[in-house]
């Protein structure tokens, strides 16, 4: 055997040893990073920061939030895909990069299912169709009738082209056979301002951040996208009740690069599930309108795959 070959074999062995996943007992051995696909400050970012504090306390290593916003969350997802599956890189996974972006940007560069290990479910928020107070419409039927009578007259906002609000709105238009003008915004904040001011009459937006507007009487929720009525808006019917096949949840979870040691995944899922029962966490989640149904790690992985295939045709239709 030549020296060169010996060296090659040795280095290959060293490489294999270093790539060998950390054993679950030792995990975590060093600080763990959580990639967040939003800039700091939004509610999803806060979820990550809050959970990071508790995870750090329980698992004995700091959990550090790294904001990698950009390109519909694909920047963060790509960074996660390229990270080592050694249990020290996770992402606060959510609807946009895993259910919408891969269809919206066919060149996104990752497969939302096979390139990742989807570890744990955190919860989700639903969206609603809101009408501004000045519009004078208070029920979904009135809206559909109004939109039928004057196609293209009504304006509705979403938090951006390719946002879940936009995709749901396109689906709404298709199944109700109505036509309204889409006014895209950059995020929910400026859109809320214009809904309040009556610049736009309607918006498709996540429920929690609009609850203050509802309480003030500035925004009237016409229907919600949850499978059942929401605790926070018990009087508002679902789209399903109105006979419209429209369910949409912006889910949040923890995901890792593909090939994560199942023992580490199980340990993280257990710890998170435990944290999520703390009264201070449940109170905070209620406050943010994050709805949680029990779901274990395996069920969550199936859920992500399910969501991806459910959203793909809707995204295609909205393009």
């Amino acid at each position: 055997m030549t020296l060169r070959r010996t060296l090659l074999i040795c280095s290959a062995a060293a490489l294999a040893a270093s790539a060998f996943p950390a054993v679950a007992q030792d995990w975590p051995e060093r600080p763990v990073r959580i990639l967040v696909s939003f800039p700091p400050g939004g509610s999803s970012d806060l979820v990550a920061r809050l959970l990071a504090e508790h995870l750090g306390e329980r698992l004995g290593q700091p959990f550090i939030v790294e904001n990698r916003p950009g390109a519909g969350g694909t920047v963060a997802a790509l960074a996660l895909k390229d990270a080592s599956p050694d249990g020290h890189s996770f992402m606060l996974s959510n609807l946009t990069p895993f259910s919408i972006a891969p269809t919206l940007f066919p060149d996104a560069g990752y497969d939302p299912i096979t390139d990742f290990t989807h570890v744990s479910y955190i919860g989700g928020v639903h969206l609603a169709l809101f009408a501004g107070a000045e519009l004078g419409i208070t029920t979904l039927d009135d809206l559909i009738a109004g939109a039928m009578a004057a196609p293209g007259e009504l304006d509705y906002g979403t938090s951006g082209v390719g946002s879940w609000g936009h995709i749901v709105s396109a689906r709404f238009g298709a199944i109700t056979d109505t036509e309204m003008e889409h006014i895209p915004y950059q995020g929910s904040g400026p859109m809320q301002l214009d809904l309040r001011a009556g610049v736009i009459g309607l918006s498709f937006d996540a429920v929690p951040q609009n609850l203050p507007l509802v309480n003030e009487g500035v925004a009237i929720p016409l229907a919600v996208s949850s499978p059942e009525r929401l605790e926070t808006l018990p009087d508002v019917p679902t789209f399903l009740e109105a006979g419209l096949d429209l369910v949409a949840e912006n889910w949040l979870g923890f995901s890792a690069p593909g090939g994560l040691d199942p023992a580490i995944a199980a340990k993280l899922d257990e710890t998170l599930t435990d944290i999520m029962t703390l009264p201070e966490i449940t109170a905070q989640f209620d406050n943010w309108g994050i709805v949680r149904v029990p779901m274990n790690g395996a069920a969550f992985a199936a859920f992500v795959a399910d969501q991806y295939s459910a959203w793909a045709p809707m995204v295609e239709a909205a393009r």
């Binding site: 700091p40 400050g41 990071a52 990698r68 390109a71 003008e181 001011a197 610049v199 203050p212 003030e216």
Partner: protein
């Protein structure tokens, strides 16, 4: 008086030992991150956010807010000393602050900056205390057409920033506008001018452009020894202090700058950078010392600093009373409130009076602290100029890289900043000003977004900009400014008199 009662409540809430401590820590840290080029309040506020979970809501907000407006004080220091703005909004301050330093008046410029910042901060707080509820309503009456009009006005006003002729200024404004179109189009979702580079999909960050054009280009120039050479700064206390002529040129510009800044601060998204540019442009139009602008005019330092500090305070009005954050840093502060179960909105002042008025009181206290903190520091900062360039500039370059990288943890941004540094250096060689480029870059995307939104809402009818009185008035002012700039009536008059 209800206001006095509210203020009493606020001061009672803000003068406990704990609140004073967090306020001091906040403004101190803010000054520090403001001084460091590239590292801005966003990084500091993000790092402090977890700390704020463990504080009461009032203390958390006072701390984070202190970092935010403290950074506006510090941002001008490097502008004046090194021609490298610490924050994008301090870019304008370099136009006259750096020439002052080159004349050996760095200390004077820093003292005036601290005072102008204080005036701006206090005016901003007064506006906030008196007008918050009314101004919230005002922002609501500002539809897309009015936003478009005010941004156009800002752009027209800002073309006179920089002193190398209107054609060169306009060329740079247009280059800025073009750079602003890079990234996803808000209305169609199509990516534009990214050359297929995914990192450009969200456009170029303002910090990248500002730090590249102003900061890196200055570092490059220093390698060639191309910085107009070092001037020894007198360090005795007397020569640090402004003289009588300087003082006489402070009050008017400071108040005008504060007024402009207070206005732009209340518009979500417009922010401090636009405020300081427009303030400078307005002052340059009306000042008697017009010719000195760009060569170390006192007004050229006072106006932008009073404007960006006033805007930093009034930016809290839309954030707190409408729940609309004007910037990512503001979004973080909203986040700190949300963690404590407080939802910003029109009911915030009524539901949480001690939070709102405590914050207002802490602004007054914080601005006083900053004034007291900054004036003794002037001597120290002025000494920085004695550090050999061979040591100082590499440190600055490293700080810029760290600051830019910390924005999105993206190495691409660092390379892009270096690219803008080369562009800035080339512009310097061919005598183009970077300031008009920056303002075009800031305003371009907003002008486009609001213009297209207004046109979408009017179904393509451009009359919407003339039919609405607000936008019609603003556009008329912009047109008059443009005509005046093009015709230069004083020169015309002089020519007529001569020929007669």
């Amino acid at each position: 008086m209800e206001l006095l009662g509210n203020l009493a409540l606020g001061f009672a809430a803000a003068t406990t030992v704990e609140m004073l401590t967090v306020c001091f820590v906040g403004v101190l840290l803010g000054t520090f991150v403001g001084v460091l080029p590239g590292i801005g309040p966003l990084a500091a506020v993000a790092m402090l956010l977890p700390v704020s979970f463990h504080l009461p809501a009032e203390a958390a907000l006072i701390l984070l807010a202190g970092v935010y407006y403290g950074a506006e004080y510090g941002g001008s220091t490097a502008s004046i000393l090194l021609n490298i703005p610490g924050t994008p909004s301090a870019s304008v301050t370099a136009l006259d602050g750096f020439p002052m330093a080159q004349k050996g008046r760095a200390g004077v410029a820093l003292v005036l900056t601290a005072i102008a910042s204080f005036v701006g901060g206090i005016v901003g707080v007064i506006v906030m205390a008196l007008l918050s509820p009314a101004l919230a309503g005002f922002a609501l009456r500002f539809g897309p057409a009015e936003y478009f009009a005010v941004m156009v006005l800002g752009l027209v006003a800002a073309t006179v920033v920089g002193g190398r002729g209107i054609v060169r200024g306009l060329a740079m404004v247009f280059l800025g506008l073009l750079l602003g179109t890079i990234g996803v189009d808000v209305n169609s979702g199509a990516t534009r001018f990214t050359g297929g580079i995914p990192d450009l999909r969200d456009g170029i960050s303002l910090v990248v452009v500002a730090m590249g054009l102003f900061g890196v280009s200055e570092v490059i120039a220093s390698i060639r020894g191309n910085t107009r050479h070092k001037v020894s700064q007198p360090l005795n206390w007397r020569s640090l202090m402004p003289n009588r002529d300087d003082w006489s040129r402070v009050p008017g510009p400071a108040l005008r700058g504060s007024a402009v800044g207070s206005f732009f601060g209340t518009l979500p998204g417009a922010g401090q950078t636009v405020a300081s540019f427009v303030g400078y442009a307005v002052e340059k139009r009306i000042s008697r010392n017009k010719d000195q602008f760009g060569h170390g005019a006192v007004e050229g330092v006072v106006v932008p600093e009073s404007a960006n500090n006033a805007a930093a305070q009034t930016a809290f009005i839309p954030t707190l009373t409408l729940g609309i954050p004007g910037s990512t840093t503001m979004a973080l502060m909203l986040g700190a409130l949300m963690i404590h179960g407080i939802t910003p909105g029109p009911r915030l002042i009524a539901d949480h009076p001690s939070l709102f008025w405590g914050l207002v009181a802490s602004f007054v206290i914080g601005n006083l602290m900053l004034l007291v903190l900054n004036i003794p520091l002037v001597g120290l900062w002025a000494r920085i100029l004695r550090v050999p360039h061979a040591m100082l500039y590499p440190i600055v370059a490293v700080l810029i890289c760290i600051g830019v990288y910390s924005l999105r943890l993206n190495l691409f941004d660092v390379w892009l900043t270096l690219g803008f540094g080369l562009l800035g250096y080339a512009m310097r060689l061919w005598r183009f000003e970077p300031a008009p480029l920056l303002i075009g870059f800031v305003l371009g995307p907003m002008i486009e977004e609001y213009f297209r939104r207004a046109m979408l809402l009017s179904r393509g009818d451009p009359l919407v900009f003339i039919e609405r009185p607000g936008s019609a008035t603003l556009l008329a002012i912009a047109l008059i400014l443009l005509v005046l700039a093009a015709l230069q009536p004083k020169k015309l008059l002089l020519r007529l008199l001569k020929s007669a």
